[in-house]
């Protein structure tokens, strides 16, 4: 590919100059990094089509390429026969759909509202506070959650007891977790998303609102007629980004925040958690690689499709 592009450029544009060599030298560490950590691992895809066995004394490369047997699509067959798979896919997709719906609509509404506040100081203070969770790791958030949800010491059960209700074993009760996870995810991301939309609202030309006011437009009409249409490109970019990642989830949220609790797995296990557990807890390389590849391919197709769709609706809003 390098040669092809280079050849094309040569005929169309220009010669290779000293500047180009210097730029190549400057950026060579980054190129090496990408080759080493993004491109070399691509050959690991063949794990998904092999039955990897380490041959003692022969090393990893030999074992993988030479001595391990090709099994074709066996790993995938096995994958699709797993009774858990439907459940895992359902969790992954439904959580993401919920996150996308809430993660786009609520921050847009809040960004529009916070823009109308009289006191800019108060608005700034609230926005700063709401931004905090974005800077915390899932590990920290899991401890925050534990302070409320711990079955014997948590605040929620203490409050329930005050009202004469019995304790709930939160980490053992699957029925609550869809709400808890959606709540925590919203709590963590809302400030960040709001800021993105706020920045776009601030950059809207104010003369548009002025002429709208002169024409007697109400606040609601201004929002519907000016603000939301002007936000459309940002909203569609956020949508593509999110839709492209609909098969991947935040590992920290689903593994760390849930404390890897076995009895709630039915509603907390997503593809990423499954891939991690297959690799680290069961050492099942081929199976884990098959799930990863499945996830990667679907994700890639989805990014391409959603980019196409968005570009058709609004040619300016595509990612690439």
């Amino acid at each position: 590919m390098k040669k092809k592009v280079a050849g094309k450029l040569k005929t169309v544009r220009k010669r290779f100059r000293k500047d180009d060599l210097e730029l190549m030298i400057i950026s060579s560490p980054t190129v090496l990094w990408f080759l080493a950590f993004s491109y070399v691992p691509l050959f690991g895809i063949i794990f998904a089509f092999k039955n990897y066995r380490l041959t003692p004394g022969k090393g990893f490369i030999y074992s993988l390429f030479v001595s391990s047997k090709w099994v074709g699509l066996k790993n995938f067959e096995f994958l699709f026969r797993t009774p858990d798979l439907g459940n895992i896919l359902r969790n992954t997709l439904l959580y993401n759909v919920a996150f996308i719906i809430i993660g786009v609509s609520l921050p847009v509404v809040l960004a529009v509202l916070i823009h109308e506040m009289f006191s800019k100081k108060l608005a700034k203070a609230c926005q700063t506070a709401m931004f905090l969770p974005h800077f915390l790791s899932w590990v920290v958030v899991s401890y925050f959650a534990f302070a409320f949800l711990s079955s014997d010491k948590g605040l929620l059960n203490y409050m329930r007891n005050l009202f004469g209700q019995a304790d709930i074993m939160w980490y053992q009760s699957p029925q609550y977790w869809p709400f808890i996870l959606i709540f925590i995810n919203t709590w963590k991301t809302i400030g960040y998303s709001m800021v993105i939309y706020m920045a776009s609202i601030t950059s809207i030309d104010t003369t548009m609102y002025e002429s709208a006011v002169i024409d007697g437009a109400s606040k609601w009409q201004q929002i519907k007629g000016i603000t939301l249409p002007m936000l459309r490109p940002v909203i569609s970019i956020m949508l593509i980004l999110n839709l492209g990642h609909i098969f991947s989830t935040d590992f920290g949220l689903f593994y760390i925040v849930t404390r890897d609790s076995g009895s709630i797995l039915s509603v907390t296990q997503t593809l990423d958690v499954y891939v991690y557990k297959a690799l680290m807890q069961q050492n099942n390389y081929n199976y884990s690689a098959a799930v990863s590849l499945f996830q990667s391919v679907l994700g890639c197709i989805l990014i391409l499709i959603s980019n196409k769709v968005v570009k058709r609706i609004d040619p300016e809003s595509g990612l690439f």
Partner: protein, 311 residues
Amino acid sequence: MKPKAAVHQEGLKRFNRVKPMTNSLISLLFIMFAFAALIPLVFVLIISLSAESSIAEKGYSFFPQQWSTDAYLELWKSRAYIGRAFLNSIGITFVGTIMGLVLISTMGYTLSRPNFYFKKTYTWLIFLPMLFSGGLVASYMVNTQVYHLKNTYWILLLTGCCSSWYIIIMRTFFQTTVPDSIIESGKVDGASQLRIFLQLVLPVSLPVIATIGLFLTFSYWNAWYSAMLYITTNHKELYPLQYVLISIERNVDFLAKAEEYLSATGGLAEKVPTETIRMAIVMVIVLPISASYPFFQKYFISGLTIGAVKG
């Protein structure tokens, strides 16, 4: 920011405001959101300062019967372990951020040069990983079996020090904000690209350097995933603070069990504040962040808006 807002309030804008009642409702709503964002932090701070005995009695509470700094004293006592992890976190954050900035800015600059010979190839090189990756097993096996990075500081530094997205942000900044005349003047003087980059471009690019630097700083400080994957339990000296928090779960439970056993058999173990000590570590992690991010916030926001400009 402020004078602009003040100007907006004038005349027409004043007329176009929402009703005072609506304003109060909106303000109330946002105050509630702000409280919801902050309360868990305050709660955990209070827990870390509660006496173990009042937690045993009442559970975690906003109003503990007794306050105590035992947890922090205990942290100080175990500084051989916790302190080492703290230093690891600081070191990894510092070195990783600088490494990342070097990798990201040089590539961003290279891609921003309109006449660069391999511009297309390089753009694809950093763009494709955004679309497709080999997956966890592939990178895990390559990092451990081919590069032998398991149980080293390198793996904690190298994963996540570079990202296509940050490179695109850098490139966009160089393209749109650094005037071509600066670079042309350097070339007229016969300066090499490296000199132009270091002496002419970087000094006028401090905002984007600060932005990406902060992104990297916070993500290294908050990193735990690579430690969980690549650092095994017999290499505790490599643990960053975030991972200590994950692993201490088992250790503290283990301590608590040992203690129960000892007291049941009549042995007198020193009382370790197991409940509060974890929350104290959380505070050690969170306090530097929450004390500093309000001051850096504007860089984050500018980074987000630069990133929104595609190209």
